[in-house]
């Protein structure tokens, strides 16, 4: 039995997504920039996807720029906005628990003359709002905060953050990394006060290598990829028609029967959390209530190394993640766990379980019973 509980790392592609993508490979394979019919046929896929996404965000179509995924969206948003607005100032604000695709871009900008303030978070990963208000300066041009934390599922108070920023200075741009949030929350950037919003396709049952950046009209962005001037010159390069079509289809499906799906995810999560709480020596990082994301649970297991438990679960057909999978090739310590000042004994003993529409109650129960069984054995053979 394959029990895939690593849906924050990536998700299975939907059949409808796959089918649409195949069409773009075998029949409508034209270059969307070509002047002939084949080009137009291909372009229509992009138009459709853009239309779907714009509607979901209550945005305009011209505000959607397709990218190669979350990392590129974050890079384009931060580097593009910083460079285009540096005459207004060179100060940026972010949190200390951002994904590496924000964190490392911030470091890069620091090396290139920008100044960055890293906001601390509380033990649940909530950004310190008082610190945010105090951090905003005359020369602050951009604030970047994630919507849902990828490791522990904490939901940041995005609307409140937007209000505080705009009250101080409406010109400051607000970027939101919504890669773990899109498809789980209804997000209307204009209503909330978000200027830039990053989304990835493969977290919502779309293909890897797909994503978009919402850029509120009027926001100045300098492109980071130069070339043939596609997508109004903001993102040159022949559009990845298959990925874009797949992303559009995945986004559409994510918001069909939305409330039921989210309710079901929360029920699964609650079932899992209840089971975990019955196991001795476990600790759930962040919130386990409905104020946190419906699909992520981060659990510390006393006296077991996460890597060993991960492989032991794997032997039983259960796939989970230690820390954050995008960077877990290295035995890197978790940025988020350090940020929330998790107890030392959990830093190397935490696993992330993340669910999707394909997850079933049976899988949750199976995972819980396997965990119980394994922990007894693994705790006996600890490193002394």
């Amino acid at each position: 039995m394959d029990v895939y509980l690593d849906n924050s790392a990536t998700t299975k592609v939907l059949d409808s997504v796959k089918d649409l993508m195949v069409e773009t490979f075998v029949s409508d394979y034209g270059n969307p920039s070509s002047m002939h019919q084949k080009g137009m046929d291909a372009e229509n896929y992009i138009k459709d996807a853009r239309n779907i996404i714009a509607k979901l965000l209550k945005a305009e179509e011209k505000e959607i720029i397709f990218t190669s995924g979350g990392t590129e969206s974050n890079n384009l948003a931060l580097i593009g906005a910083a460079l285009a607005n540096q005459r207004a100032g060179k100060h940026l604000i972010t949190s200390c628990i951002e994904h590496p695709s924000v964190r490392n871009v911030m470091k890069y900008l620091e090396e290139n003359g920008f100044c960055v303030t890293y906001l601390s978070v509380d033990k649940n990963g909530m950004v310190d709002l008082k610190m945010l208000t105090e951090a905003i300066r005359e020369d602050t041009i951009l604030v970047s905060i994630m919507y849902v934390n990828n490791e522990i599922g904490t939901v940041e108070p995005i609307e409140e953050i937007a209000n505080r920023i705009k009250q101080k200075n409406p010109k400051i741009l607000f970027h939101v990394d919504a890669i773990q949030a899109f498809g789980k929350y209804r997000i209307y950037p204009k209503r909330i006060g978000i200027d830039l919003l990053s989304v990835s396709g493969h977290k919502i049952h779309g293909p890897k290598g797909s994503g978009f950046l919402y850029i509120r009209s009027g926001v100045k962005i300098r492109p980071i990829l130069l070339g043939g001037g596609q997508q109004k010159g903001i993102r040159s390069g022949t559009e990845n028609v298959a990925a874009i079509a797949g992303l559009g289809q995945a986004a559409k499906e994510a918001y069909q029967n939305f409330e039921q799906k989210i309710e079901r995810l929360y029920q699964l999560k609650e079932r899992f959390v209840k089971g975990i709480e019955k196991i001795e020596g476990t600790y759930i990082h962040g919130f386990s209530e409905r104020c946190s994301a419906p699909h992520i649970v981060s659990v510390g297991f006393l006296g077991v190394r996460s890597e060993v438990l991960l492989h032991a679960l794997e032997e039983k057909g259960i796939f989970v993640s230690a820390g954050s999978a995008c960077s877990s090739n290295k035995t890197a310590e978790s940025i988020t766990l350090k940020g929330i000042k998790a107890a030392k004994e959990y830093l190397d003993s935490t696993l992330r379980f993340s669910f999707s529409v394909f997850t079933t109650e049976e899988e949750i129960d199976y995972c819980l019973s396997v965990l119980q069984e394994l922990l007894v054995v693994l705790r006996r053979y600890a490193r002394k």
């Binding site: 492989h311 032997e315 290295k330 053979y381 002394k384």
Partner: protein, 395 residues
């Protein structure tokens, strides 16, 4: 490309008496194997105590040299110009053209070495030497003859065709793989053991390897890393049969039964026993490890003594006297370093005690093992018979 052929020099195997043809044939096979990595079609031939590699048509010179430099047994690679025999005048012109192209500044001291293998050529070797020498001096006023320490040696060999060469690119030395029996390498995934395997393979030894896998404590990626390492060594040593032993139960049993600080030593003794058992089955006559004296607790003199004691076969430890940095240099040279430093845990470190014994007493260790014996025999048997075998080739 000026050069269409390569003369292969092989020092050591030239002196192997009546077995010589065995070594030469092995070398020819290894050259053929290595040249599959180079673009082009080649024929490898053995004639009159020489091995020639000839390119048929277009080929990639750099790739060819790189491939040949990997072959154990080759001391030097000489890029050769082959010309048709159209008489002495033509030969002299060709030699001068050769010097112009290979030594454009043309101001070195030189010596001509002619060898008349085909005796119907009208001049003898000595005459060719002096006549060609004279033509060179005429053509290049800045060149001088030096018969004792010339900067360039120009070789002219009169065979069916006439061969001209002067450069010798050094090869890896050693002996062709397959000429010196077989040995079993204990491959851990670290930096040292691939280097140790390479060094023994260099002496003509065919390598098989054994890896101890301990799921879930070591990951599939750690196992893949070892397969990758074996494949990299296989680039030099030819395909390597890798025996993968599931070691978890044995390790946990030792953990349960023995004092914790002795765990690593006892574990290593069982690894040696298992490796020797597989070696015997495979017809290998020795074990190879990447141990280096004093590098870690299990490699002190006392620890080596204690692990060695369980073996009846010779254990080769080619990096025993090397410092870590010297081993790293070799790992970089044979291109295994980058793979070795990927951070996956291997089975030697997962339960390692904070303070393992560094001076184990054999008597104490033997006594600890007494408790294990009864059950262990069967566990070892099972681990050996259930082993997975992967043939690692360089691709």
């Amino acid at each position: 490309m000026l050069f269409k052929a390569f003369l292969i020099k092989y020092g050591e195997i030239g002196i192997k008496g009546r077995n010589r043809y065995l070594f030469e044939d092995a070398l020819v096979r290894q050259i053929q194997f290595a040249l599959r990595e180079a673009e082009g079609k080649f024929t490898v031939s053995k004639e009159q105590g020489r091995i020639y590699v000839e390119a048929e048509g277009e080929y990639d010179y750099e790739e060819t040299i790189t491939a040949l430099k990997r072959v154990f047994g080759i001391v030097g690679i000489c890029p050769v110009v082959q010309i048709e025999d159209r008489g002495f005048e033509d030969l002299a012109e060709q030699v001068i053209a050769y010097i112009k192209q290979v030594y454009p500044d043309s101001q070195q001291t030189f010596k001509v070495h002619a060898r008349r293998a085909r005796k119907n050529f009208p001049m003898d070797s000595m005459t060719i030497n002096s006549e060609i020498g004279a033509r060179i001096l005429d053509a290049f006023p800045k060149m001088r003859v030096d018969v004792h320490h010339p900067q360039i040696n120009i070789f002219i060999e009169v065979r069916k065709k006439i061969h001209i060469y002067s450069q010798i690119i050094s090869g890896s030395g050693g002996m062709p793989v397959g000429t010196n029996g077989k040995a079993m390498l204990l491959l851990s995934g670290g930096i040292d053991s691939p280097v140790a395997g390479w060094m023994i393979a260099k002496r003509g030894v065919q390598i098989e390897a054994v890896y101890f896998h301990a799921p879930p404590y070591t990951s599939e990626r750690a196992k893949q890393k070892v397969i990758d390492l074996a494949s990299l060594v296989a680039k030099y040593a030819g395909p390597i049969k890798l025996h993968i032993i599931n070691f978890t139960d044995i390790q946990l049993y030792i953990y349960d039964q023995c004092p914790h600080e002795e765990l690593t030593i006892i574990m290593r003794r069982y690894m040696m026993r298992i490796a020797e058992q597989i070696a015997r089955e495979s017809g290998a006559l020795g074990l190879i490890t990447g141990e280096s004296i004093g590098q870690v607790a299990s490699q002190t003199m006392q620890s080596l003594y204690a692990t060695n004691e369980v073996c009846t076969m010779p254990v080769f430890r080619p990096v025993i006297g090397f410092d870590k940095l010297e081993i790293i240099d070799l790992a970089l040279k044979i291109n295994t370093y980058e793979t070795s430093i990927q951070p996956f845990e291997d089975c030697c470190t997962i339960f390692v005690a904070k303070h393992p014994v560094t001076k184990p007493s054999l008597k104490v260790i033997q006594k600890s093992e007494e408790k294990l014996k009864e059950k262990m025999e069967e566990m070892v048997e099972r681990a050996v018979s259930d082993r997975e075998i992967v043939v690692c080739k360089y691709t």
